[in-house]
Amino acid sequence: MHLKTKHLALFVATALVAASATNAAAQAGAGDEGTFFIKGGTVVNPGGQKMPNTNILVRNNRIVEMGPAAQPADAKVIDATGKYIYPGMIDANTGLGLGEVGGVQTMGLRTEMGEFNPHIRALVGLNVESELLGVTRMNGVTSAITSPTGGVISGQAALINTAGWTWEDLSVAKSAGMVINLPGSGGGGRGGGRGGRGGAAASPTLVADFERFMTESKEYNTARASGSAKLDLIYEAMRPLLNKQIPAIITANGEANIRAAVAFGEKWGIRVVISGASEAWKVRKFLADKKIPLILGSLESAPGDDVPYDEIYAQPGLLYEAGVKFAFSTGAGSNARHVAFHAALAMAYGLPSDGALKALTIWPAEIFGVEKEIGSIEKGKLANFFITTGDPMDLRTQVVEVFIKGRMLADDDRHSRLYAKYKSRPLPIKP
């Protein structure tokens, strides 16, 4: 965090007195779990008017009061006068907690052996002390999809908060979706193979194997429903998908792959979320009619040589106008913290400000069925929000405080620690 209390003092001496009271409350670890009364801030929710001078009472992880609420005696008071409060942002595709240093193989275990791994769960492999989680949350990204990769069925993605004590504590949706790469979908559309993470290789055998796996899963599901099959951990893992409790997150780039993914969902009667979605603008009306939501691949991508220079930046605006629901994603993890700047690129090229905010908050929550828990600042929801000096998409804005699950977080991420240390290096002695 960057203008958090102790840094604020270095830049803006006048703010020191007001700010230091809040810093005392922030603790390391998963954050201070007290009762908080955040007063006087302007709440900005997706799809709503700005709500000036709105108090928020946080207790037991949740927002328990909002509006002109009175200040309870036991609450720690955070003065947000003149500041803005945004719902925590959500990066809808990352490997957060599953990998650390890219170039060090043993620090990134995201891809399991084999092709059909519905039984593999991202959540149980999460390192809550990942340094990537720390820097992510400090820029207001409070939740993320973290997903396994590889094979045809990679496994179950989890929707997590970016701070907590254990992976159970982190979990918002243990199994948010089943990650699938349709055989033959590798490479993506005409855009130079800009596929995000991995479409599967083409192989007639693999296509046949996948067809058989789906058929057997469906038969097993029917048999289990009637109580006539023995428990099989692998097929069992397919049931929530086949019963529409969770969606398939299908990697598809390019018009043909997107249509194939939609057809796959219709054939097997499952819900589909398209991930990657380059060239989705070409079928935006089709996607809107079918109510297929998208997780857009990183906007920080170079386009293919044969497409308009602004295709990647301008696509979200076109999708918004057509009524397609989508979320932003960074794809990896180390810069999940900057998902808002992906949204800013989309805004510059036609996405309205409120559409950008929706795609960073309530839409991913809706896509993964957790809109009653996160995605906006409302009474009863988890207290996932952050306090800023302005629009989080604006590079000049400073993030002042971050709350996740009702806990106020300290400046204890790797980057803030190193910053504090080297900022305090004594200046050289002048000879």
Binding site: H2, W281, V283, R284, Y309, S334, Y419, Y422
Partner: protein, 437 residues
């Protein structure tokens, strides 16, 4: 891809230019133009911002900037109401628009080679569409002492020779750390080459500069001797050692790829012991740890905004690096090293405000005046001042605002990118009636 930087050992596959991007290079655009932008906020970099200002470019040079500028009759005038005008952005580290290889990876010391420009690489057009008007095109980082670079202006539509930025420094790439050592340490034992460690990298630099000093002395003695003895024996000419002596004499500037604080300090000390200067540290991700030493040596720094965790030596990279080095008196630029980031270099500069709260115009200097200093072109570009080149980017909003987009990019007074005339997605999408076909 975020992780892949241009300094990998791979030779780039080069694409074919298509009609979709090759729209700007029409003959009329390359003709000299006089033009003015009026009623705009002008971010001069040199003397603050001018509200409601006018900038006039004639014969390729800026002839007036201010609030009281008379626009001569017949000069093309762009209404800049609500827009922000700033110096064309400069990318101090790129491997775009090159061909025939980026790395001469056969040996670890190759300052005699030079990169070759690919003038029709579509990245040039896309860089213009992000407001970039000049760049340093560097050799890769496979070698301790790599090849020579080129400084170009984004003169899209002109020949490779015409793109060269005349008057810029001659620059050579050095590299430290994993890229130099990894090529060997991961190769089969019989294919390895020295050096495989940071210790070996240090020795490599010392060894070759010792040789260069001896070579320099040999030639000095010959030039002295030949004054009195026409039969004095001329030394054998060695292009590698000749390039190294150019470094010793300050004629060839060292830009060194570096990550860790220890290796940055190492090169500073080796340079000081051998009588040369490190002109600019590239990447310099842990520069914040040795910022005082960098400043004292007189080196500059060109870094990434937020790249970290993609390899072991990038583990202590922090986005506060730009702010910390600036505060310690280092001239800092932020670079792309990527066909992707070169499209939105202004955003990368803004990261310096988000982290460490750099003053806004200090952050903008990181993509204008500061890289101009690092490339040796600050007398010609990098600020909007009378007499400087007409290299200008016009944004729809402040470049750090979330809705900022480049509308015009002007090089030598020529409008080489114009959003209204570009082949945009919106224009194509409007023809497809909502995407159903």
């Amino acid at each position: 891809m975020r992780i892949l930087n241009g300094c990998t050992l791979a030779v780039r596959a080069l694409g074919v230019v298509s009609a979709a991007v090759a729209v700007a290079a029409t003959p009329t655009r390359l003709a000299a133009q006089d033009l003015a932008i009026k009623n705009a906020t002008i971010i001069t970099i040199a003397r603050g911002d001018i509200a409601n200002g006018t900038i006039l470019v004639r014969g390729g040079k800026i002839t007036a900037v201010g609030t009281n500028v008379t626009i001569p009759a017949g000069v093309r005038t762009i209404d800049g109401t609500g827009k922000f005008v700033m110096p064309g952005l400069i990318d101090a580290h790129s491997h775009s628009a090159l061909e025939n290889g980026i790395n001469e990876g056969t040996e670890s010391v190759t300052p005699e080679v030079q990169v070759q420009i690919k003038n029709d690489d579509p990245v040039i057009y896309r860089a213009l569409a992000g407001g970039v008007t000049a760049a340093l095109l560097l050799h890769g980082s496979a070698n301790t002492i790599g090849g020579q670079a080129r400084v170009i202006k984004m003169r899209w539509g002109q020949s490779a020779d015409e793109m060269l930025f005349k008057g810029a420094f001659r620059i050579v790439k050095f590299a430290l750390g994993e890229n130099v050592t990894q090529a060997s340490s991961t190769a089969p034992a019989d294919q390895r080459r020295f050096p495989m460690t940071r210790m070996g990298v240090e020795f490599t630099v010392r060894y070759w500069f010792q040789k260069a000093k001896e070579y320099d002395q040999e030639w000095k003695e010959y030039r002295d001797a030949v004054k009195t003895n026409a039969n004095a024996m001329m030394p054998r000419r060695d292009l590698r050692l000749e390039a190294l002596t150019d470094i010793l004499h300050g004629d060839l500037k060292v830009h060194s790829h570096s990550y860790r604080g220890d290796e940055i300090l190492m090169l500073i000390r080796v340079a000081e012991e051998n009588g040369f200067k490190v002109h600019t540290f590239q990447h310099v991700l842990e520069g914040y740890k040795v910022a005082d030493e960098i400043a004292k040596h007189g080196a500059m720094a060109s870094t990434f905004a937020d790249m970290w965790a993609y390899k072991a030596e990038a583990w202590d990279a922090i986005p506060f690096n730009m702010a910390l080095m600036s505060q310690r008196g280092v001239v800092v630029s932020v670079n792309s090293d990527s066909d992707e980031r070169i499209r939105r270099l202004y955003q990368e500069a803004g990261i310096g405000v988000r982290y460490g709260n750099m003053p806004v115009n200090e952050a903008l200097k990181m993509v204008t005046l500061n890289p101009a200093k690092q490339l040796g072109v600050d007398k010609m570009v990098g600020t909007l001042e009378t007499g400087k080149d007409g290299d200008i980017a016009v944004f729809s909003a402040h470049p750090f605002a979330p809705d900022a987009m480049v509308e015009y990019t002007i090089v030598d007074g020529k409008v080489l990118f114009e959003r209204a005339e570009a082949n945009t997605l919106r224009k194509i999408a409007d023809k497809t009636q909502g995407g159903t076909r």
